[in-house]
């Protein structure tokens, strides 16, 4: 029995091995490059293990690329958009999961359609919209708040779908029992339903945050001022359109930008499977 399982395990890992190698390859390249000094990065043929271990890539990118500011921008934009999306999606998902109304099928179709329209398809319209809205001295172009609202809007459909799927799985009788005990509906929601909805909402929040953190095209188009740019955009800008690229700095920056997100996402990823197979997907 155990031998059979061992044999099966070896076979399974063999089948998966090409994919595993390809998935891990860029991460290993990133780690290897980030820990080399510049001179060693610019040598051929390259080798995996640094001859001289060096953290100069990290210190250089931190001071030169101003990655600290970029990380703060990313936290503010992704965090703000997550809060906004959830504030709007939680009530809507509650209505979809718990209440009957005639417009529900139409609303669900509307969400699905809006889910299919990627920001990049609408970017020209989004840019003109942002340029038409006065904000401060100028317009919403080149503002973090503009990007934040756009991210929230594009995160809505997925959030409502996924939250509604989870909310529908929370038994109604607990809420009904609360009503019978003299709770108003709102009170039942606040004290009975919402605590049970916290895990699903947290998963949804992580997805929304990671999506905002990783987004590229809206940030590229809207955020001109380097002091306002997100970390994803900053790292790409270290490479694109530059004649000489210091790759150990770029890889150090990429490591700082990706690792925290990968860890959090890896942790919640298993809770996603159900929501994804049920609803819309990004």
């Amino acid at each position: 029995m155990r031998r059979a399982r061992l044999r099966r395990s070896i076979l399974c890992w063999l089948v998966l091995s090409p994919l595993v190698v390809l998935v891990l390859f860029p991460y290993l390249v990133m780690l290897s490059t980030a820990l080399k000094p510049t001179a060693e990065v610019m040598s051929y043929p390259p080798h995996w293990i640094p001859r001289h271990w060096s953290l100069t890539g990290f210190s250089a990118m931190w001071s030169q690329a101003d990655l600290g500011t970029a990380i703060l921008n990313s936290v503010a934009i992704a965090g703000g958009s997550t809060v906004l999306a959830l504030l709007i999606a939680v009530p809507a998902a509650y209505a979809v999961a718990r209440m009957r109304f005639r417009a529900k099928p139409a609303y669900r179709v509307f969400l699905l359609i809006s889910q299919m329209l990627a920001p990049v398809l609408l970017i020209l319209g989004l840019f003109r919209l942002a340029a038409a809205v006065p904000f401060g001295d100028g317009t919403l172009v080149n503002t973090r708040i503009g990007v934040m609202v756009i991210y929230a809007a594009f995160q809505l459909a997925f959030s409502v779908w996924m939250l509604a799927a989870y909310f529908a799985a929370i038994p109604t009788d607990i809420e009904e029992a609360a009503w019978i005990d003299g709770c108003g509906r709102l009170q039942a929601i606040l004290h009975v339903f919402l605590p049970l909805a916290v895990p699903a909402t947290a998963v949804c929040a992580v997805v929304a945050f990671v999506a905002g953190w990783n987004e590229y095209v809206v940030a590229l188009t809207m955020l001109r001022d380097p002091g306002k740019q997100t970390v994803t955009l900053q790292v790409v800008n270290l490479v694109s359109g530059r004649y000489s690229v210091t790759w150990n700095e770029v890889m150090a920056a990429a490591l700082v930008a990706t690792l925290p997100v990968a860890v959090v996402f890896g942790y919640v990823q298993r809770y996603l499977v159900r929501g994804l197979t049920l609803g819309a997907v990004k």
Partner: protein
């Protein structure tokens, strides 16, 4: 409705009065509230989606029929001129053809690889949760960042790919992967497949776990081999999931922007443009918003067609 909400909130603090407002213990809310409440709850999401998603669509539609200056001023209505303008551009046809190749290759490759991967991940074996996490890993990575990592790996002068291929004796001199479209575009397709596998194999895993196990026992008793079980049981039962994965992937891959834009910006010599990078270049690099809007409308129309197919596929859910 808002007054009722306020009343409910107030009574919430004084449970004794809730009985007066809702004599049936709250289970039967007053009529107006019952009809208006769900609409009130979905209203903010409608407002945001209409402002940020639906309205820009109409902005683009209008732009596509307008004479737009490079700085964005509208200078009158020009009918189909922007569309005609695009149709005379040879780069448009190249991009259109490449969009087809890109979509078919990435979606086809993704589905072909994801079925066996999901099948393996459904087995019971040592280290399965580690394997699942590794397969899902590209999902957490920003596409733009993945493009940067692979761009460096394929770097002609110092990249790890050239180094490894040369040490294995597969190439005699470093290859300029990104300098020629003939090599750059296939590399981009490969990366496109790699980043689409997590989502697709997740759908298939959901599909596999929805198949009841007892039908396999019945098949075994009837003497069906493992191959026959896969061919005549698993594959037909997985079919609806494959259809959904194909359509959703078409919609995502068709307008996948960051990989190509970050790695080659559509170049060299416009040889890696697909429609979405071509439209972006027209709009934000070449100062031709009118034709860019026309290309966007064409892309949106294609997305609507596939969204329609998707809605039909999953009609029973909606």
């Amino acid at each position: 409705v808002s007054r009722r909400l306020a009343a409910a909130a107030r009574t919430g603090k004084q449970p004794g009065r809730a009985v007066v407002l809702f004599p049936h213990g709250g289970a039967m809310l007053p009529r107006l509230s019952r009809a208006g409440m769900p609409l009130l709850l979905i209203l903010p999401s409608l407002v945001l989606a209409i402002a940020i998603i639906i309205y820009p669509f109409f902005v683009i539609l209008r732009l596509s029929f307008a004479n737009v200056s490079p700085f964005g001023q509208l200078r009158g209505f020009v009918g189909w001129a922007n569309y005609a303008n695009v149709l005379t551009d040879p780069i448009f046809y190249g991009s259109l053809l490449r969009t087809l190749i890109w979509t078919v290759a990435v979606v086809g490759g993704t589905v072909l690889i994801s079925v066996p991967v999901a099948l393996v991940l459904q087995q019971d074996f040592y280290g399965r949760s580690v394997a699942r996490t590794i397969v899902m890993l590209p999902w957490a990575l920003s596409l733009a960042m993945a493009a940067i990592l692979w761009q460096w790996s394929f770097n002609a002068d110092y990249g790890m790919i050239n180094g490894m291929l040369q040490s294995l004796g597969l190439i005699s001199a470093p290859v300029q992967w990104m300098a020629r479209a003939e090599t750059a575009f296939p590399v981009e397709i490969g990366i496109g497949i790699l980043v689409s596998i997590p989502f697709t194999s997740t759908i298939f895993q959901g599909g596999f776990s929805s198949i009841p196990t007892d039908i396999y026992e019945a098949a075994r008793i009837d003497g069906a081999s493992a191959m026959q079980q896969f061919r005549f049981l698993t594959l037909p039962l997985l079919q609806p999931f494959i259809s959904i994965a194909v359509v959703l992937n078409i919609i995502h891959v068709f307008n996948s922007f960051p990989i190509i834009w970050v790695m080659t910006q559509g170049g060299p010599d416009n040889g890696t443009h697909i429609l979405v990078t071509y439209a972006y270049e027209l709009a934000f690099r070449l100062g031709r918003p009118g034709p860019a809007a026309a290309v966007s409308v064409v892309m949106l129309a294609i997305v609507f067609v596939f969204t329609g197919i998707y809605l039909r596929l999953r009609r029973e859910d909606v």
